[in-house]
C-alpha cells in the first residue's frame, strides 16, 4: 500500500485530524479492528508531543506524519524538528502535555501521597500501546516510529474496501 504522508501546522486542533487519518489508513491497511483504538491513541500521543515541542521551539515548522502499510505491518512515523541550539534534540517543554504541568506531587492528602505523573507520560503510553516502538533522538529532532500487525488489505471483506 502506498505511503500516506501528512504535514500539519503544530496546533492542538490538528492532532485530532492526524488521529482520524491514521485510523482510516490503519483500517484500510488491514489492522485488526480491536487494535484501531490503540493506533488512534498512540498516534494522538505522538502528535501531541510533537505539537507541544514545536509550539515551544519552532512554531513555524510543520509536524510530519508518515503512514505505511506493507509487509504485514502498519507503521506510523511521527517526526518533529525540534533541535536545541547546541545541535542536540531539545525535549518538549512539558512532554506529555498537561500531565507534565498538572500532575506533579503537591503534598499528601487524606488518601496518602499524590501521584507523580512523569513528564514523559505520553511516551510511556505509546510504549504501552504500540506493538513495536522506536524513539530516535537525532540532532534534527525526535522520530517516533511505531507499528502494528496488519492483514493483507486485498483479503479484507468487500465491505471494507475503498
Amino acid at each position: 500500500m502506498a505511503t500516506v504522508e501528512m504535514s500539519f501546522t503544530p496546533l492542538p486542533a490538528h492532532v485530532r485530524t492526524a488521529r482520524l487519518v491514521a485510523t482510516a489508513v490503519a483500517r484500510r491497511s488491514g489492522v485488526d479492528e480491536a487494535l484501531l483504538d490503540e493506533v488512534r491513541l498512540a498516534v494522538g500521543e505522538a502528535c501531541s508531543r510533537a505539537v507541544e515541542a514545536h509550539q515551544e521551539h519552532c512554531p513555524g515548522e510543520p509536524v510530519q506524519v508518515a503512514l505505511t502499510g506493507a509487509g504485514g505491518r502498519f507503521e506510523v512515523v511521527v517526526t518533529d524538528h525540534v533541535a536545541a541550539p547546541n545541535g542536540t534534540p531539545a525535549a518538549a517543554g512539558q512532554p506529555g502535555g498537561a500531565a507534565g504541568r498538572e500532575g506533579q506531587p503537591g503534598g499528601a492528602g487524606p488518601a496518602g501521597p499524590l501521584p507523580v505523573v512523569p513528564s514523559e507520560l505520553g511516551l510511556a503510553v505509546i510504549e504501552g500501546l504500540a506493538d513495536d516502538v522506536e524513539i530516535a533522538r537525532t540532532k534534527a529532532g525526535v522520530i517516533i516510529r511505531m507499528s502494528w500487525p496488519s492483514a493483507d488489505p486485498d483479503l479484507a471483506p468487500p465491505g471494507e474496501r475503498a
Binding site: P12, A13, V15, R16, R19, D37, R40, L41, G44, E45, S48, V51, E52, G96, G97, A98, A99, G100, R101, E102, G103, G106, G107, G109, P110, A111, L114, P115, V117, L121, G122, A124, V125, G128, L129
Partner: protein
Amino acid sequence: MDLKLDHHSKDGIEVVDVEGEIDVYTAPRLRELLIELVNLGHYQLVVNMEKVEFLDSTGLGVLVGGLKRVRAHDGSLDLVCTQERILKIFRITGLTKVFGIHDSVDEAIAARKSEK
C-alpha cells in the same frame, strides 16, 4: 462536537458530565471547569466519563491536576467509566490505583458518602 461539558449538584456532590474527546486541544476546557468548580467551593467531585469517546495523557494530566486541587481542601475526585477503551489508558499508566472509578454516578456518590 469535540467536547461538551456540563455539571450539576447531586446529594451535595458536584457531578461533571463530559461528552466527546479529551485531548491536547479540548483538555484545557475541562481543566478550566475543574478549577472554576474548586474556586466556587465544590471539593467533592464526580467526573462522569461514560460519554467520553477519547482520552489521552493530556486528559489524564487534567484529571490528576483536578484531584490535586480538591485534595488540597480535603476533597475528592472520583470517576465514572465503564468503557474498556477509556479504562485502558488508566491501566497502562497505573492510575487505576489513584482514582476511584465506578460504574455509575449513583455508585460513585454512594461510595464517597460511605467514607464520611
